[in-house]
């Protein structure tokens, strides 16, 4: 199955959600206030956020007036375009351009960092890269074991340290090991932390600095892992994490549920942080590059 198909099959399930099934909205009828209200509701129910939803609908209204559009079908395509425009503005490359190419995964508790690290390792491994995983979550009980099991399943090397030890020290050693072993891609897992915890965010910044001290310009990518079921709080997460370590992209996980992850529109719009990958299941292969158009279709339920 191609990556795109996976992305679609994962999202297809989300689209069967029983709340907000408004597929008929775009099929016929006039463009009236009721149409706009329902549109706003679809966006809000997809976690786009009420302010952004209103903004989007207003922009659509202007465009519709400007282009003298009468059909709902055309209006639909216009909104699709608007969202794709916002979400697809950044050029996303997932190809490593340095060696070793260091990727750091960060995020709040339970967003899916460890699983995403394993999936990402598997993705690079399948494309023929030499990968090294770092079990940087030394805090949560058995997080190291969790990644250890994944590393066995993917056949990717793992660097780990004692539970409860300082993650920065582990990352320092891991960078040396990566250079010595001549690996292509290094993927670092970190402990989940709430963005409102000042000390934990400082710890993260320290990890970031330690990596950079050992390998120039590393980490080359910092990805924030965001659970697609998250509501408006995801914007606060992105903001605070971005203050601690510069975030290059998002991994939007758990898109195989009924949540549509509309909050990433705000994050892209406000902070200019694009979505890099989406997680669509529990298997190692269930990670795909982000497709703005497919995302927009799923969000609008069309």
């Amino acid at each position: 199955m191609s990556l795109m198909d996976q992305f679609k099959s994962g999202l297809a399930r989300s689209r069967d959600g029983f709340i907000g099934r408004l597929g008929g909205l775009f099929s016929g009828g006039d463009i009236d206030q009721e149409f706009y209200d329902e549109l706003e509701e679809i966006l809000v129910s997809g976690d786009v956020g009420v302010q952004t939803s209103i903004k989007l609908v207003e922009r659509l209204q202007d465009e519709i007036k400007g282009r003298k559009i009468k059909e709902r079908e055309e209006a639909k395509n216009l909104l699709l375009e608007l969202i794709v425009q916002i979400m697809g503005s950044a050029e996303i490359t997932n190809e490593p351009d340095q060696k070793p190419y260091v990727i750091l995964l960060v995020g709040v508790n339970g967003s899916g960092k460890t699983t995403s690290a394993a999936k990402l390792a598997s993705l690079y491994k399948r494309s023929g890269k030499e990968v090294l995983l770092i079990a940087g979550d030394t805090y949560r009980a058995a997080a190291i074991e969790q990644l250890e099991i994944w590393s066995e399943r993917t056949g990717v090397d793992l660097m780990k340290s004692q539970a409860g030890s300082d993650p920065s020290a582990l990352f320092f050693d891991a960078m040396n090991a990566a250079k010595a072993r001549n690996v292509d891609v290094v993927i670092g897992d970190t402990a989940g932390r709430l963005h409102s915890r000042y000390n934990l965010m400082e710890e993260l910044n320290k990890i970031y600095r330690v990596i950079g001290r050992n390998i120039d310009e590393a980490p080359h990518r910092v990805l924030l892992v965001v659970d697609a079921t998250t509501g408006q709080n995801a914007v606060a997460q992105a903001k605070k994490f971005n203050q601690s370590v510069p975030i290059d992209g998002l991994i939007l996980t758990k898109l195989d549920g009924t949540a549509r992850g509309g909050i990433v529109i705000n994050i892209q719009d406000e902070l200019d942080i694009p979505v890099s990958y989406v997680g669509t299941g529990e298997k190692l292969e269930d990670l795909a590059p982000f497709d703005p158009e497919y995302f927009a279709r799923a969000l609008l339920e069309i």
Partner: protein, 449 residues
């Protein structure tokens, strides 16, 4: 939690109360504001719609328009509806009729089930019960190990078996619990998507086999609109008895709590408020409703203070305050104790009408970063300087600023605040002597802010 929502609602209330006459337009405007506030807090849009509609219906009716104080009437209606939405009384865990009570923990992936299961065991132990844990999540790598490590760390017994299937693990686990004479068994099940038919039927089989007294859904407080979908599906498949809301220690607005409560009709029984094993608290809906509506939650505050603060120290402090010997050293001590109670924002939100506390005070004492600064400044003083701040001349202040990595302005600001506080105590001592409730008196002494 909820502080943002509370602020917005209280703004709306203030505007309404100021009006002598209320037109339908005024009501509409207020309803729009309430709708926005709730949506921004992630309350599900259908729940919001119903909520706003029922308020509007009552608000434009005779009940309000005919009254002399229509604004206040609307506020009263919102209060009633909100309290109705949150539920009234705190609901306790059911006990087993014969044998141990069985508690099943269910939920989506990453909501915090395993951590919550162990926190619940720790809570029940402190409550005088004898809990036992069963590790039934054999799907997520390392999940069983996580439960084993966490349980052992607090000395709780558990059953685990990686070779068996979840249904049998639960059955065996129950037997093991009975052998151990446990009076409550907590089953930690695997995270699953509510639309995964296979996994959902597995969990209803487990339920049929062990016949639990409690099926608790664990919900991440940061969940958005989708919270209702998951909650409704789990409720349909299993018949939930309650909800545990996790990760409330963040800056989430927690609207999911209202949504989940509305779609399932189940009470929220516990909330998770931190990473430590002890960080699980019973949930009091009435108190939370009054917190949202700005009426404060003094009861929780007193309980929290009594649970965390050192009683002897508090008495000593009270004496010091009375004799006006409160020093910077005591100030630092108190701050440490305060911080061990949780974030200062949380504490302030429990005070009656968060709206009445001037913004300046909030900003002064609430920024955690500035607290760290204050601690550093006091830490850089000599003992003599701490007990007698009046000797702090400019060269001493410079040295302190340098030592604590702050500026002389920071040091001056702190000293000013400290002076203000001492003045406040003096006044409090005088007014405190006449009829204030005993608890309140204690409380005031403990919280100079």
């Amino acid at each position: 939690m909820f502080s943002n929502l509370a602020e917005k609602l209280q703004d709306t209330f203030r505007r309404l109360k100021g009006k002598g006459k209320l037109s339908e337009k005024d009501v509409d405007a207020a309803m729009r504001e309430i709708r926005l506030a709730l949506l921004e807090a992630d309350v599900n849009f259908k729940v919001v719609k119903e909520f706003v509609n029922s308020i509007r219906e009552r608000a434009v009716g005779q009940e309000v328009m005919g009254s002399l104080t229509p604004g206040q009437q609307v506020v009263k209606i919102v209060n009633e509806e909100m309290t109705g939405l949150m539920g009234a009384e705190q609901s306790k865990l059911a006990r087993g009729e014969k044998g141990p009570a069985k508690v099943m923990i269910v939920g989506l992936q990453g909501s915090g089930k395993t951590t919550t299961a162990v926190k619940l065991a720790s809570y029940l132990r402190r409550d005088g019960r004898n809990p036992f844990l069963v590790a039934a999540d054999i799907y997520r790598p390392g999940a069983v190990k996580q439960l084993e490590v966490l349980s052992s760390s607090i000395g709780e017994k558990y059953y685990s078996n990686l070779e068996n299937d979840p249904v049998n693990i639960c059955k065996e686990g129950l037997k093991a619990a009975e052998r151990e004479n446990a009076d409550v068994v907590i089953f930690d099940t695997a995270g699953r998507l509510h639309i995964d038919n296979e996994m959902m039927s597995e969990i209803s089989t487990i339920k049929d086999e062990i016949k639990p007294e409690e099926v608790l859904l664990v919900v991440d407080a940061m969940t958005g609109q989708d919270a209702v979908n998951a909650a409704a599906s789990f409720n349909e498949a299993l018949g939930l008895s309650g909800v545990i809301l996790t990760k409330l220690d963040g800056d989430t607005r927690g609207g999911a709590a209202l949504s989940v409560r509305k779609v399932t009709g189940c009470p929220i029984k516990f909330i998770g408020v931190g990473e430590k094993v002890e960080a699980l608290e019973p949930f009091y809906p009435d108190r939370m409703a009054s917190r949202i509506l700005g009426m404060g939650d003094v009861l929780s505050l007193i309980e929290k203070a009594e649970a965390t603060l050192d009683q002897d120290k508090a008495k000593e402090m009270e004496k010091k305050l009375r004799q006006q010997q409160f020093t910077l050293e005591d100030f630092r001590d108190q701050m440490g104790q305060l911080r061990s109670m949780g974030s200062l924002d949380d504490i302030l939100n429990m005070l009656p009408s968060g709206g009445n506390i001037p913004k300046e005070i909030k900003q002064m004492s609430l920024n955690e970063k500035s607290l760290i600064k204050i601690e550093a400044i006091i830490g850089s003083m000599t003992r003599e300087e701490r007990t007698n701040p009046s000797i702090l001349n400019s060269s001493r202040r410079r040295r302190i600023a340098q030592g604590s990595g702050t500026t002389v302005q920071d040091v001056n600001r702190l000293l000013n605040q400290f002076n203000q506080m001492q003045k406040m105590f003096k006044q409090m001592n005088m007014s405190g002597k006449k009829g204030m409730g005993k608890k309140m008196k204690k409380l005031k002494n403990r919280f100079p802010f």
